[in-house]
Amino acid sequence: MSDIGIKLIYWDRVFEAGFWILVTLFFYCLALRIQRALGGTPLANPVLLAAAPIIGLLVAADIWVGDYMGGGQALLWLLGPATVGIAVPLYRNFKRVRSALLPMGAALLTGSLVAVVSAVLIGEAMGASVETIRSLAPKSVTTPIAMGIAGEIGGYPSLAAAFVILTGIVGAVFGAAFFRLLRIRDERAKGFAMGIAAHGIGTARAFQESEVQGTFSGVAMALNGIVTALVLPLLWLAFS
């Protein structure tokens, strides 16, 4: 085949991607062990605990992130089918979700609005650059949507992606403490608020807490993504 000059599969790339997936898996297992040893605390967030040493490794060995992302992209792709799986707990808890439509609607509208407006106002009050503020606005929705919105309103899509991940980690790590502070005990409200504020990474944490929390978080994440994508660019036009 090689005499035609077309290579269908770059095996070295495949092996490299496989290697980085294994490295990620190793640090994930380690992170889970640490979290379990600490009694399952959300403070020991697996994304944070695993990503930090990998970043350290890449920096220390002077490896380009793009090399790592060869494997990383495969895992990010897998996020799609995994997220689709939310339909299963959603089906199992269908009655519970259906009976909470009104509370969900109210929480969706107030939550998505506050998530956007508070971020923009705080950014402005503290003198962040325009690009930073515009990239910050969609921080509470899942990465692909946030990137699209940021591009639309004149921010940097890639910077928005970084904000989304950091927001998710903040929400996953401190969500439980926030809820305790606010005395929010309703499992459904906790899950829904988590999904509104901290999208998928918050949802991953919510599923670690309970299936009900995870389900409501997943539903909130999906709805918030849609609402923010529809409303934020219009809101932006109206106020700028």
């Binding site: 890449l58 959603l90 998530a115």
Partner: protein, 151 residues
Amino acid sequence: MTSDRSGELGYEVFVTADAVHGLPQAMRIAGQLLLAFLVLVACDTAGRLLSHWFGLPVPGTVIGILFLLGGLVWFRRVPEAVGRVADFLLAHLNFLYIPAGVGVMTYAALLADDLWPILVALFASTFLAMLAAGFAFIAVARFTEKRGQGE
């Protein structure tokens, strides 16, 4: 699928005389799990394609959730293999987000430019969004539901 056998698969299949029955059984289960995974992939891919083709503001994966949900409602149950694969993937959602976490390092310089506004905005805004959503949920739930319902 007999439940008395599923627990001993790893051993039975390869070692004992039961291999005659065990191997096809193991392959069938593996096949079902693979098929279930492919169902998830198909829903996701179909959703993404639809979203892309029609330029929908709804992300493809969300449409994929609706496809799978529609299927489950249609069949009125969650096939065992689909439930197992979905539960497994959702339990390890964190694993799949790690590359995104690593990707943040690329923007270290940009993040450092506006470090304090960014930090304060991320923490305060996340807190405020949870407060708003959580209290709105509870307030309306209290209004619409009889006492003692829900959790």
